[in-house]
């Protein structure tokens, strides 16, 4: 029997990278290789899908996943035992059609995603190849621009209804000759920034957990600054003080929907006190792209404003990423592509369900000249580095120091002279096309 055939599938409830319950699936092959993956559902409680993803009830604040665990053990697992873990598309096809077409809804998107990704990892280990190579084959040689978080937001100026910790800002090191050079420079800037913040506000950055890839965000609370413009100034000064002007830039996840009122069409308490209408919001983003070293802006406008995102992609010159805008949904990406909406798609590998669906979605973006920016918010953890290299992503969301930084350094070393640093050409936007001579 082939060593890559699936021998066993198990699952359990664990803590996710966000500290909430998550499902963890393990796939074991005949030759003893294991692939273990956790998935935290990105679906909010209350939608139709959730009944199967979460247990509800009082324990674990309703977020327990014992039913999803049972579905893996009793339904998904038995259906794929005996299949070849190295043949991702075949396994995914079986899972996605278990008992009819809406398998994800019935079994739980989190259960499906965890097993699918565990199959991918078990397949790589069984074949004895690194995960990035199993994903991208010999083409997988690109290390992304190095980025790391620096500021998180909050309801800083009132009116941000569900602001969570948005907007989040990151440093992006792009004009360097290798990933390691970029990462060490990034480290200098990040440390300078953290010392600045510690002295001025007495706050510390968020930890980088060994299992979670983003970190470094300093939670600047209400009352600490007059407006975010003050923060942009401080960040810019830090970059310049370290001598990395035009080599290290800024990235922001605006998450503007959290500040948008659909009734009035106004953005409230975003970057500063008060309201802005759509045109004023567009002007604000243009100002950020021109007057400050922003190189990547994510979800700058509300998720249904395809035209506005098209305008920004055309005129801001920088990388415009759609997260809520595209929702990892192929239909929305297709619509965006036709309209020239944004120029990069945010990828949460485990959000869409199976690995095959993620890869199809990436293919769609690339085939239309769009970038893809991976983000590890659904339980991908440091595997996000392998996904990033596997799909030759030019940029990644804030995952390049700490544990993921080490994984990238390791991959860079492994690829040796074949390793390619995305650099300037890894960032979408007219400004960088000119600089990279495209």
């Amino acid at each position: 029997m082939n060593g890559t055939f699936i021998k066993a599938v198990t699952a359990r409830q664990v803590f996710s990278g966000r500290g909430h319950p998550a499902i963890e699936a393990t796939v074991i092959t005949e030759n003893g290789a294991r692939g273990t993956v956790q998935c935290t559902a990105g679906i909010s409680i209350g939608t139709h899908e959730v009944a199967f993803a979460y247990d509800g009830g009082n324990r674990w604040r309703g977020m327990g996943v014992s039913r999803a665990v049972e579905n893996v053990k009793n339904i998904i697992g038995p259906a794929i035992i005996g299949m070849d873990a190295a043949k991702q598309a075949e396994v995914d096809h079986v899972i996605l059609n278990l008992g009819g077409q809406d398998a994800k809804q019935r079994l739980g998107g989190n259960a499906v995603a965890a097993v699918s990704a565990a199959v991918l990892k078990a397949g790589a280990t069984a074949l004895g190849v690194p995960l990035y190579h199993h994903i991208g084959g010999a083409r997988a040689v690109t290390l992304p621009c190095a980025s790391f978080g620096c500021v998180s937001g909050s309801n800083r100026y009132g009116a941000g209804r569900h602001a969570g910790s948005k907007p989040t800002y990151s440093f992006v090191a792009y004009d360097f000759s290798s990933f390691s050079e970029a990462a060490y420079a990034l480290w200098e800037v990040v440390h300078d920034w953290q010392a600045t913040v510690k002295h001025r506000f007495g706050i510390r950055p968020a930890n980088v957990s060994p299992g979670y890839t983003s970190g470094g965000f300093c939670p600047i609370a209400p009352g600490m600054v007059e407006s975010d413009r003050e923060i942009w100034g401080m960040l810019t000064e830090t970059i310049c003080r370290r001598g990395f002007e035009n080599r290290i830039g800024l990235q922001v996840d605006v998450a503007s929907d959290s500040f948008y009122n659909k009734e009035t069409g106004l953005y409230s308490g975003l970057f500063e006190r008060g309201d802005r209408n759509r045109d004023e919001q567009i002007a604000k983003i243009m100002e950020m792209a021109h007057d400050y070293p922003f190189v990547i802006v994510e979800d700058p406008l509300n998720e249904d404003d395809f035209e506005g995102h098209a305008y920004l992609a055309e005129h801001s010159g920088i990388q415009v990423v759609g997260d809520d805008l595209f929702a990892t949904n192929p239909a929305r990406v297709e619509k965006g592509v036709t309209m020239g909406t944004a120029n990069c798609v945010l990828l949460k590998v485990n959000q869409i369900g199976s690995i095959s669906e993620s890869l199809e979605m990436i293919h769609l973006a690339y085939a239309n000249g769009y970038g893809v920016m991976p983000c590890s918010s659904r339980g991908e953890n440091t595997d996000i580095c392998d996904y990033s290299v596997g799909i030759n992503a030019g940029t990644i969301r804030e995952s390049c120091l700490g544990a993921p930084g080490n994984r990238f350094l390791e991959i860079e070393k492994e690829l040796g002279p074949r390793a390619k640093f995305a650099g300037i050409s890894g960032i979408k936007g007219k400004k960088f096309e000119r600089e990279a001579g495209r």
């Binding site: 359990r12 664990v14 803590f15 990278g17 966000r18 500290g19 963890e24 324990r59 674990w60 604040r61 909050s154 309801n155 800083r156 969570g164 910790s165 990462a183 060490y184 480290w187 200098e188 990040v190 440390h191 953290q194 510690k198 002295h199 506000f201 007495g202 706050i203 510390r204 950055p205 968020a206 930890n207 980088v208 957990s209 060994p210 299992g211 979670y212 970190g215 470094g216 965000f217 939670p219 600047i220 609370a221 209400p222 009352g223 600490m224 120091l401 700490g402 544990a403 930084g405 080490n406 350094l409 390791e410 070393k413």
Partner: protein, 424 residues
């Protein structure tokens, strides 16, 4: 040839979870097993710790570790090739033949742990069992960081982010049940902090109270106590504080500056304050309440409080200091951290000495080893392990608890040293 023989050793200068530079060692055995381990500088560094090797100069604030990586690649590594990774003490003995300061205790610690992991993997047994054998069946108490400090009250620039406050779950029948209760408390604490500060902080990213939000830390103690009580876990979940008092201590004036409040405190005032914490608040573990030369002060606090008084910077996992402290009764528990001393063999020796003298063992976890600290803690039979009560550390410990099975021993409140919690 035996599969566990070391075939190659490599190293790199990487990053640690605490934001510092970290030296990472990789050991590969003849049968292809890999062991990888890291060592980085801690958030607060005690004066008694083994000497680390840093690059110096401008880059990375002088704390780069390219030199430490080179010493693994060119000095320590070559000496281990051909040795049996399964024979930890022999490998450590060879490394200890080198001058620790010259090769770097950080290089040594990373390599020693990498050997241990490669040995476990080569024999295909779990890391905790390779370290602790069949005796490794006891689970540590779960704790998790609820609040960390900063330069909240001025006074000290060396304090890192101390003091650190942990919620610790002790009066439960199993690790699994303790961890679920602990999670509930941390969730309630997150909610409370969001309302209090107007900014969302989660336990996974750390909860740090900025300047100007508190008059003194006693307010924080009241808040944390309230959350424990309102969650219904009074007397079952308590508090652990790592004061790292040495970082706030000025040897010139003999005063503690900026610790818990803006007012400087002398030694007697600190002792009275710590006694009050143990009497009026649910503190069950207090770590480094005084600077790390004040053995007598530790003795007095241990005698007067009845809770666990833990020596971290006081002992720095150093056997000679530990012998002195145990004889005097300075504290009743010691933090075991390979990164403080250099090798697994030395840490094991300190752990064994403490164990034999009825001193509590606390597994340290901040120097780049991530959740491998869980395996070290179980392997050394530590009664508590730092910050592994939720999240990825808990994922590993839950796995270990399941693996050990029905005979897994959870210490419950006996896991807290101090006469209040012990049979005698």
């Amino acid at each position: 040839m035996k599969g566990s023989i070391i075939r190659s050793v490599d190293a790199m200068a990487g990053f640690a979870d605490n934001g510092q530079a970290s030296v990472i060692a990789t050991v590969v055995t003849e049968n292809g097993a890999v062991g990888q381990a890291a060592c980085c500088v801690g958030a607060s560094v005690g004066t008694n710790e083994a000497p680390y090797l840093f690059d110096g100069g401008e880059a990375m604030g002088g704390k780069g570790v390219f030199k430490a990586a080179e010493s693994i690649k060119n000095i320590l590594g070559p000496a281990l090739i051909g040795q049996d990774a399964a024979c930890q003490s022999r490998c450590d003995e060879i490394m200890l033949g080198f001058d620790k300061a010259a090769v770097g205790a950080n290089a040594m610690a990373a390599l020693s742990c990498a050997v241990l992991k490669a040995g476990a993997n080569a024999m295909n047994i779990p890391l905790y069992r390779h370290l602790g054998g069949s005796r490794a069946f006891s689970m540590p108490l779960p704790e998790y960081l609820g609040a960390s400090g900063s330069v909240r009250y001025g006074g000290s620039e060396n304090a890192g982010y101390q003091p650190n406050y942990y919620f610790i779950a002790y009066d439960f029948p199993s690790y699994k049940e303790a961890t679920e209760a602990l999670w509930e408390v941390l969730m309630n604490w997150e909610d409370y902090i969001r309302d209090f500060l107007g900014v969302k902080m989660t336990y996974t990213t750390g909860i740090a109270i900025p300047k100007g939000c508190l008059e003194n830390d006693e307010q924080l103690w009241q808040m944390m106590t309230r959350i424990i009580n309102e969650s219904g876990y009074s007397g079952r979940i308590g508090l652990h504080v790592d004061m790292a008092a040495g970082c706030f201590y000025d040897p010139e004036t003999k005063l503690y500056n900026g610790l818990f409040s803006a007012e400087p405190k002398n030694r007697e005032q600190m002792i009275e304050l710590v006694v009050k914490m143990a009497e009026e608040y649910p503190f069950v573990v207090i770590e480094d309440p005084l600077q790390d030369q004040d053995f007598e002060g530790f003795v007095e606090i241990t005698r007067r409080t009845g809770i666990q008084i833990l020596g971290d910077d006081l002992y720095a996992t150093d056997l000679e200091r530990l012998k002195k402290g145990i004889k005097m009764g300075a504290g009743n528990a010691v933090r075991i951290d390979v990164a403080h001393i250099g090798t697994i063999a030395e840490a094991a020796e300190a752990a064994q000495y403490a164990y034999e003298h009825n001193f509590g063992l606390y597994g340290g976890a901040e120097r780049g080893e991530g959740w491998s600290s869980c395996d070290y803690a179980v392997g050394f039979n530590c009664a508590i392990v730092q910050n592994m009560g939720l999240y990825f550390g808990a994922n590993r410990l839950l796995e270990i608890e399941t693996e050990i099975g029905e005979r897994a021993l959870f210490p419950g409140k006996r896991g807290i040293w101090g006469k209040r919690f012990q049979l005698r």
